[in-house]
């Protein structure tokens, strides 16, 4: 089963694309583990996730913490802290 990943603001700019479909590697169980795996995929990903503590995540349109389980997720998004309003 593939998972859709979406990126916003400077996370999107650093990675160079707004979204992609990935096959989740076995062993990647949490949002934090997914960030670590993504960071190992190349320079642009390493740059985007160089400071994972500042990156926010959402699973299927709900904010989650980095220890959240990704099992069953259809769409996972990564973005900087929000600056709306």
């Amino acid at each position: 089963m593939s998972t859709r990943l979406r990126y916003f603001a400077w996370v999107r700019e650093r990675i160079g694309k707004p979204e992609e479909l990935i096959e989740m590697p076995s062993g990647v169980r949490t949002v934090g583990e997914l960030m670590a795996w993504l960071a190992s995929r190349g320079e642009e990903y390493a740059h985007a996730f160089e400071n994972p503590n500042v990156i926010r995540a959402a699973i299927d349109h709900h904010h989650v913490r980095s220890d959240a389980a990704i099992k069953g997720a259809g769409e996972i998004a990564f973005f900087p802290p929000m600056t709306g309003g």
Binding site: A9, A58, H61, H62, F79, P80, M82, T83, G85
Partner: protein
């Protein structure tokens, strides 16, 4: 333009590129009602400078689908916490120049305390939880706005144990 209605409540959440008419949005919530005693209208406006530097424009990026859902969740929470008769939230996206409106929150209630508190609550959460990102455009290029710690602490105060009506409920 998207409109969503929360069941059994006069609540509207809308994201749009176009400008909005704050007075018309407020009038829409009060028309034909005799139970309204208070209308609070908050409009967030694009300033002409960011941290002392003049800016040409702001560009707001957002997460379609989640932005609407997240705002609706906070509207539902506001309606659960305060005796509101109506809520409208309009948030613009795209390129916005100084002097233009960015965001609108209208809250309507029988007495002013509920409308004031709910409008402030919604704005504090819009700042920190709604998936929008501002990019500043100046003569030297484009930069992303950093999140402000003051906005996080403004939102956090609503989580503190509350006295009065909310605590009793």
């Amino acid at each position: 333009m998207r409109a969503r209605y929360i069941e059994r409540m006069k609540a509207t959440v809308r994201l749009q590129r176009e400008p909005f008419d704050a007075a018309a949005e407020a009038a829409e919530l009060t028309r034909g009602r005799a139970d309204v005693g208070a209308v609070v209208t908050f409009t967030g406006v694009c300033r002409g400078s960011e941290q002392g530097e003049p800016i040409a424009a702001l560009t707001l990026e957002y997460y379609p689908g989640m932005a609407e859902a997240e705002i609706e969740r906070h509207v539902a929470e506001a309606v659960a916490r305060w005796p509101l008769l109506g809520v409208t939230v309009v948030h613009r996206h795209g390129r916005i120049v100084p002097g233009e409106d960015i965001v609108l929150v209208v809250t309507v209630s029988s007495h002013r305390d509920a409308a004031f508190a709910a409008a402030e609550f919604l704005m504090d959460y819009l700042k920190t939880r709604a998936p929008f990102w501002k990019q500043v455009e100046t003569t030297s290029g484009k930069t992303w706005v950093d999140a402000k710690a003051a906005d996080d602490s403004a939102a956090a105060r609503w989580k503190a144990p509350r006295r009065g009506r909310e605590a009793a409920e």
